[in-house]
């Protein structure tokens, strides 16, 4: 991309984005899917963990209950008690008390172990004080017939157990401190004949049960809670929330109030619910589920608690965030790798495209250029047997269409005289240097052109010549210009030589003239001799004229411009030639445009000379015989025209002589070329030089038998 065009840089970005955006989208989707998946799995893992814990917790509660109920049944059937009931002897009652005491001390989780008579009076009571079971003396035994659980227990039929609600122990209308969560288990004691002898009441210390509950729930991510059927906390981890129903000012400290969003909790046995407050996992505990005997509670036969584990939302959010950040980290690193890859790919793609485009563009530019240039641009193979490319200019220059076998057409056109030079150029094989050759070709229309063919070898990376590339130029005009230059240089040399001869020739002529005049006087009486002298005089004058013509032609042309009306100049010329015109009886017709302005800035004397030379040519009597002309008629027509974008005046001088052949017309302006017997052949050449010095054009056309038509075009001004 070293030659990056202005639109290449954003193009890299565009391509990059074209690759990167889909990748990014896929990456985003994949990341999102991964995150969701991870989250779901996490939640599922959590659910499973929580459920497992809750199951254990539930199980522990149920077992504790079962154990308590078993103990109750045991006590109800306690042998010492039975004997005491049968005999009523105080020593038996003491033994029963001792048995109860041992029982309580071993168990360690009954705050009170009591036996009450059917009236509700305590008969036996073992208190657990600081881990020591103490038999309460008879004097301190109380009547408890007003207690609800006593009443309920006394109403129990055989085989049924009364379980009180789990609440805090109240002593003297005050909640005992430290808090003593208690459940009272009671069952009736019956005789063999089914009469009630009393009830056994166990004040089960719930603390241990709760502690076990908590232990089984430990190690998990959530917060463990135990709720009763009304939603009050039996265990909340926060004492301020527990036992709300025991306090008059905590009647609304219930789980459904605080966690109002966890609605499903109260609808299903087991479950998990995600709410804005967090993740709730619960299991409903039926503590009385395992029972060989029916149990009865204050609320009915079914006791329901809920074991709940809460993962608060902020903790979840933390987890989610952790997952998210992990996913993002991976996505980011993956993304960066992808970005780099995309960038590299994009850059390469753009570079490739740019180079392709630039190749296409440069090829198109090459073709345009090759088509536009006037020279023939060619490529050929290493032995020049075949052209690989020839530009369209070939058709223009060779005058032949660019056919398949161009090389044959090319070579066939070569002028016979130049075959050798052309072949030398064609038959270079494997030569290391550039070559150059000039030769003429002959076009199908007969026109000859000079071709300058030059080229150089094209090598591959190893330096082997693979072919040649070159240009063939039409240098015809160049050659013509060179010829003209050489000619004018020759003439300049001639002019200088002639100028140098001026003194001598004129002096010689003067001497001849002078002596001839003197001689003429001396032979005035001898007419024949005088006649000879006159002929010598003629010849002398002609010689003089010839010299003057040549000097004119060789001398540099100076142009002193002034505005002249061309038709005026024509008139002056005719005045100068008046004698000749009269002697030839020539008729000169002048045509001029009606509103024509024929004023040009020209050298008056020079233009008179031009017109004079042309007219003299037209008036020459030598032309008469060829067309049997009896009357010389010359037509001069003036018109306005344009020459090379400038206003100009055209003068046409046409005679009714024999005209000139095509060859003669082409050579008419050549110095010293004349079709006449007596003529210097310089008249038209001089005229052309003068006209050219004015920036104009002098041309002659002729049809044999129809006279010569000379056209002089002069720009109006030098600019």
């Amino acid at each position: 991309m070293s030659s990056a065009t202005p639109h290449a840089a954003p193009s890299v970005w565009r391509t990059f984005l074209a690759y990167a955006l889909p990748c990014a989208a896929i990456l985003a989707i994949a990341s999102w899917a991964a995150w969701q998946g991870q989250w779901e799995r996490r939640l599922s893992d959590l659910r499973q963990a929580e459920e497992k814990r809750l199951a254990l917790q539930a199980e522990s509660i149920v077992r504790d209950f079962a154990a308590a109920r078993t103990d109750l049944e045991l006590l109800a059937e306690e042998a010492a008690l039975r004997r005491a009931l049968t005999t009523g002897a105080s020593v038996d009652w003491a033994a029963a008390a001792a048995a109860f005491r041992v029982f309580s001390e071993k168990k360690q989780f009954y705050d009170q172990v009591r036996f009450l008579d059917p009236t509700g009076l305590e008969v036996l009571r073992i208190n657990l004080v600081n881990g020591e079971a103490v038999v309460v003396p008879e004097a301190d035994l109380q009547r408890k017939d007003d207690r609800y659980y006593v009443q309920a227990a006394l109403a129990l039929p055989r085989g049924k157990v009364f379980v009180s609600p789990f609440d805090l122990n109240v002593e003297d209308d005050q909640i005992e401190q430290p808090l003593k969560p208690t459940i009272r288990f009671a069952a009736g004691v019956f005789d063999a004949d089914g009469s009630r002898r009393g009830i056994v009441v166990l004040n089960y210390l719930g603390r241990e049960m709760l502690q076990r509950f908590v232990r089984f729930g430990a190690g998990g991510p959530g917060r463990s809670m135990l709720l009763n059927a009304e939603g009050f906390w039996l265990y909340a981890g926060d004492p301020a929330r527990e036992w709300g129903f025991m306090y008059s000012d905590r009647q609304d400290v219930r789980f459904p109030v605080v966690y109002s969003t966890a609605t499903e909790l109260w609808q299903t046995e087991v479950g998990q619910q995600r709410t804005p407050q967090g993740l709730f996992t619960w299991e409903t505990i039926h503590p009385l589920a395992e029972a060989r005997t029916d149990a009865e509670t204050a609320e009915g036969s079914d006791l329901q608690w809920k074991a709940v584990s809460i993962l608060p939302e902020d903790q979840l959010a933390e987890t989610a965030a952790a997952i998210r950040s992990a996913v993002l980290r991976i996505a980011a690193s993956g993304g960066m790798v992808l970005a780099v890859v995309c960038w590299v790919v994009a850059r390469n793609a753009v570079a490739r495209r740019a180079s392709e485009a630039s190749l296409v563009a440069s090829e198109s530019r090459f073709r345009q250029m090759a088509a536009a240039i006037a020279e023939v641009f060619w490529l050929c193979n290493a032995d020049r047997s075949r052209f690989l490319y020839v530009s369209p200019a070939f058709a223009n220059i060779w005058g032949a269409p660019s056919a398949v076998d161009v090389i044959d057409v090319w070579r066939a056109a070569v002028h016979p005289d130049d075959r050798a030079a052309a072949d030398a150029a064609f038959e270079r094989r494997g030569e290391p240097a550039a070559f150059s050759a000039e030769y003429r070709i002959v076009r199908p229309d007969g026109e000859t052109r000079w071709i300058w063919d030059h080229g150089f070898p094209v090598r591959d990376d190893a330096g082997v010549v693979r072919g040649y590339a070159g240009i063939a130029e039409d240098v015809t005009r160049l050659h013509a210009a060179q010829d003209r230059l050489m000619q004018s240089e020759r003439l300049a040399a001639v002019g200088e030589a002639i100028t140098g001869l001026a003194h001598e020739s004129r002096n010689a002529l003067q001497r001849s003239q002078s002596c001839l005049e003197m001689l003429a006087k001396r032979i005035a009486d001898r007419p024949e001799a005088l006649g000879l002298a006159a002929r010598v005089q003629d010849a002398l004058r002609e010689l003089h004229r010839l010299y003057e013509r040549v000097r004119e032609y060789a001398a540099p042309t100076t142009v002193r411009r002034a505005p002249h009306d061309i038709s005026d100049l024509l008139r002056k010329t005719c005045d100068q030639l008046a004698d000749l015109i009269a002697s030839r009886g020539a008729e000169i017709v002048v045509e001029r445009p009606p509103d024509g302005n024929l004023v040009c800035e020209v050298d008056g004397l020079g233009m008179v000379q031009v017109l004079r030379n042309v007219l003299e040519n037209a008036l020459s009597e030598e032309l008469d015989a060829a067309v049997e002309r009896t009357q010389v008629r010359i037509r001069v027509a003036f018109s306005t025209c344009r020459l090379q974008g400038r206003d100009a005046v055209r003068t046409i001088i046409e005679d009714n002589g024999p005209g000139l052949s095509a060859d003669a017309v082409r050579r008419a302006f050549e110095p010293f070329y004349t079709t006449k017997v007596r003529g210097t052949g310089l008249g038209l050449a001089i005229a052309q030089r003068i006209v050219a010095a004015h920036g104009g054009e002098l041309e002659a056309t002729s049809e044999p038998g129809k006279g010569l038509n000379v056209s002089i075009v002069l720009p109006r001004s030098a600019g």
Binding site: S505, R506, Q510, R511, S514, C515, E517
Partner: protein, 195 residues
């Protein structure tokens, strides 16, 4: 032309000299000398004081134009130049008041004759004009002298212009001198007297 002129000719070609001598004689003029070199031309001019010169330009021993120029400074003499050259440089050199005609060789008799006639005519007109100019100049000079003398008189003698002029006239008449002479003497005298 009826007047017979005293002419000196110059050309390095003997044929041409012979031609000039013969033809000019036929035209009624006197050929006092025919010089072959520039030096001879100058010597002949000084010896004969001709009315007119006819000379070539390129000659050994000094070219005709410079000789004519030299001689014209001593004595203004109309010159006809006959030469093979007609380039700009030579023409420029020949454009001096004493060159009255420039002929390009080869020439024939009619051209020579015409040139002579015209040249002499022009010369005569030129001379009279020059004479006129001279006398005018002189008159102007005299006028200036007389004015100055008048001024001095008026100043010194305290007289009017008319009176001053009359005094000068009187003095001139009395001493049979020209007015300008008297004026000049007065001026000189005044200078000597320290006026």
């Amino acid at each position: 032309m009826t007047e017979s002129l005293r002419v000196v000719v110059a050309d390095d070609e003997p044929d041409v000299r012979e031609y000039f001598a013969e033809t000019l004689a036929e035209l009624g003029h006197q050929v006092l000398a025919a010089a072959a070199t520039g030096d001879e031309l100058l010597a002949a001019c000084r010896r004969h004081s001709p009315d007119l010169l006819v000379t070539d330009i390129r000659m050994p021993g000094g070219d005709g134009l410079s000789v004519a120029r030299t001689y014209a400074a001593e004595r203004f003499t109309p010159t006809i130049v006959v030469t093979a050259y007609h380039d700009q440089a030579t023409l420029a050199e020949a454009s001096e008041p004493h060159v009255f005609s420039y002929l390009v060789k080869p020439i024939e008799r009619p051209q020579l004759e015409a040139a002579l006639t015209i040249a002499w005519l022009r010369y005569r007109q030129f001379s009279s004009l020059r004479g006129e100019a001279d006398s005018l100049r002189q008159a102007l000079e005299d006028r200036k002298l007389i004015e100055r003398a008048k001024g001095l008189l008026m100043q010194q003698a305290g007289i009017s212009e008319e009176e001053a002029f009359r005094r000068l006239q009187k003095s001139a008449r009395n001493e049979n001198k020209k007015l300008a002479e008297v004026a000049s003497a007065l001026i000189t005298a005044a200078r000597v007297l320290g006026a």
